[in-house]
């Protein structure tokens, strides 16, 4: 704790760096994953193929993944960012697909039968109904991003991981603790923050039974 209190500026800088890297990766992954999952949803064969490939990617340990990317993107933030996007991609595509699948066939049939176009169906029906599952995916992806971004410090992406690695190499338990505490706080904060946001978004009473009507 002492380190955090005596170096608030530096710790805050690392904190922001860490968070912005994770958020940037999430945003990029989200922009790609949403349309990708939607297209995969109409094409079952492609879906199982892509999910298979993504599944394999996900099993690669994060350090290994970043090292694999270094020849392409260099030993810098870029490789770490790409690795983060890839991991997020797996989680987001999977959850978005699961969300789309959770839309009841009756709802879909009624919507199409009443003359909804494919795009309108996606925007007005599928997206809002799949949203809870998609947001759950975002929440998990956010936590995963924080942990992988920590490893990224080893490869020049900055962030709170720097405190960890310096703490180890310089034998400064103070720094090590500072890093650990801040990363934990960040991960927990993001998790519960997103959880609250989710509940806010999905708070309309649509799934709550009114006891009066039973």
């Amino acid at each position: 704790m002492g380190y955090i209190l005596s170096n608030p500026g530096l710790v805050a800088e690392y904190f922001v760096e860490h968070l912005s890297l994770a958020v940037l990766a999430l945003l990029i992954a989200g922009v790609v994953a949403l349309p990708m999952a939607w297209i995969l949803f109409q094409n079952r064969k492609a879906a199982s193929l892509v999910l298979g490939i993504l599944g394999v990617l996900y099993t690669i340990p994060s350090i290994g993944m970043i090292i694999l990317l270094i020849p392409v993107f260099g030993l810098n933030k870029g490789s770490v960012l790409v690795a983060l996007v890839l991991y997020n991609q797996v989680l987001l595509v999977r959850n978005t697909l699961a969300g789309l699948e959770s839309v009841s066939p009756a709802v879909r049939e009624a919507a199409v039968g009443m003359g909804m176009s494919r795009l309108r169906l996606a925007w007005e029906v599928e997206l809002p109904l799949a949203l809870p599952v998609i947001l759950a995916g975002v929440r998990i992806a956010a936590v995963v991003s924080i942990s992988i971004a920590t490893v990224g410090a080893k490869f020049g992406s900055g962030g709170l991981g720097v405190l960890l690695f310096e703490g180890i190499s310089q034998s400064q338990p103070d720094k090590l603790w500072a890093g650990t505490i801040m990363i934990t706080l960040l991960a927990l904060g993001l998790f519960f923050g997103l959880k609250m946001l989710e509940e806010q978004i999905i708070s309309d009473s649509r799934t709550v039974m009114d006891p009066k009507t039973g």
């Binding site: 009841s104 009624a110 039968g113 009443m114 709550v208 009507t213």
Partner: protein, 319 residues
Amino acid sequence: MNEIIFNHVYKEYDGGSGWAVEDVSLRVPARSLVVFLGPSGCGKTTLLKMVNRLVEPTRGEILMDGMDIREQKPTDLRRRIGYSIQQVGLMPHMTVERNIGLVPRMLDWPGVRIRKRVLELMALMNLDPDVYLDRYPAQLSGGQQQRVGIARALAADPELLLMDEPFGALDAITRLELQNEICRLQTKLNKTVLFVTHDVDEALRLADYLVVLQEGRLIQFDRPIRILQEPRNDFVCKLLNTDDRIRQLGLLAVTRVMMSLPEEIPEEHEVVDHRATVREALSLLLGPKNCGLVVSREGKAVGWVTLEAVRSGPNEGEA
């Protein structure tokens, strides 16, 4: 208008074995309620879904007011046709108001007009707007959900309505209630309605015309009473249990067997409404110490029915 013509329509599903629908030709008269009746797998739902192009026929054509339905974009065609299904399919994330206004919104009606129409339809379906307008589907009972579903199907005032076993998932009492509702709506709105069911009683209760289907083929198409009186084959006999005379009487208006009022009406009698069926009249006649029934129309006695009259069958005239 909205006369529907099926012209040698066939359907074979991918990977299916044989025809799901085989050579069905049928002219659905405009402004009548036509029930497709048959056991599961008889092709009734497939036929229905061909009309709004959720299913495309393998061969043959379907004409609406003389025009091939394939000449229209499916989305445009569907917005002109009301559609209601067994599982209702209300949008769980939309209020009753937004659900009913779905098609008008797609047709870009102004908000004020949509709102007015929604209130109108809720009144028509006996749903109190003050209570239900802002509710979500999960807060409604099954029967209320289906009422909203029907209101939604009627929203853009389509001339043609497709109903795919809309009451199949409801309990018996609610089902009867909504069947009566449909009868009432039909006399009021006079739409062309295609109605799919496997429930024989429901079919007989609602149908102006009945289409009996078996294994994708059209077996018989006629007025329900004619099908009961002259079933085409054993299958129709068994399906509708045409030997059941009581069932036939359920389709006959009491006015068809009534006689003129006797000089002196016996003291022991009951009164029956002129819209009742002979079956209902018979049930009353079989009550204790009942010599006859006075048929009343708007409070005035217009005729007299006895057991003898029921036994001797309908008077001359169109069924």
